[in-house]
Symmetry: C2
Subunit: 99 residues, 2 copies
């Protein structure tokens, strides 16, 4: 299984509704892209102050690298990336093989 | 449940054995600190080039924030932090409430 963690910091000028819409758009990929086996997200609740300014985390699971690649190349993901990029201050993506 | 993601980039001068020792030390916390419900780790296999230089990820699960806090304040964790900090180029920690 491939774990795919994505961390976002949204641009400061986005209001709460725009942030909520962006999160909903990301969550919607679960229905559009069958390779997404699991999806969870949340805001930072760490007291350690080591989040490097990131505010939102998204953890997706894929069967294997081929499924993760199919996700990355899926039209719905490409459309999401085009939609989200102008709304982000920064993003981090890290994948690892779990289990 | 609290998800606790930790990303490391080790100092360049560490050799493979020293990196392996550091990873083993982190993994050993599972046996030393009962609040750790799950632990997994891996190196970056993302093709997206958005890992900001981080090379190793560690995902820990805790029952709740109190368990995460007990982990953070546990002597074994404090000893690990003192041990690992000089070996790191940088670290990121992000926690979120999952499920």
């Amino acid at each position: 299984m491939i774990r795919h963690i994505v961390l976002f910091r949204f641009r400061d000028e986005l209001d709460a509704a725009q942030v909520a819409e962006a999160i909903a758009s990301f969550r919607a990929l679960q229905e559009k892209i069958p390779e997404v086996r699991a999806f969870e997200d949340g805001t930072n609740v760490s007291p350690e102050g080591l989040a490097h300014g990131f505010t939102h985390a998204f953890l997706l699971d894929f069967e294997d690298a081929a499924a993760r690649d199919a996700y990355l190349h899926h039209p719905a993901h490409k459309a999401f990336v085009a939609y989200i990029q102008p709304r982000l201050d920064k993003a981090l993506v890290f994948d690892w093989v779990a289990g």
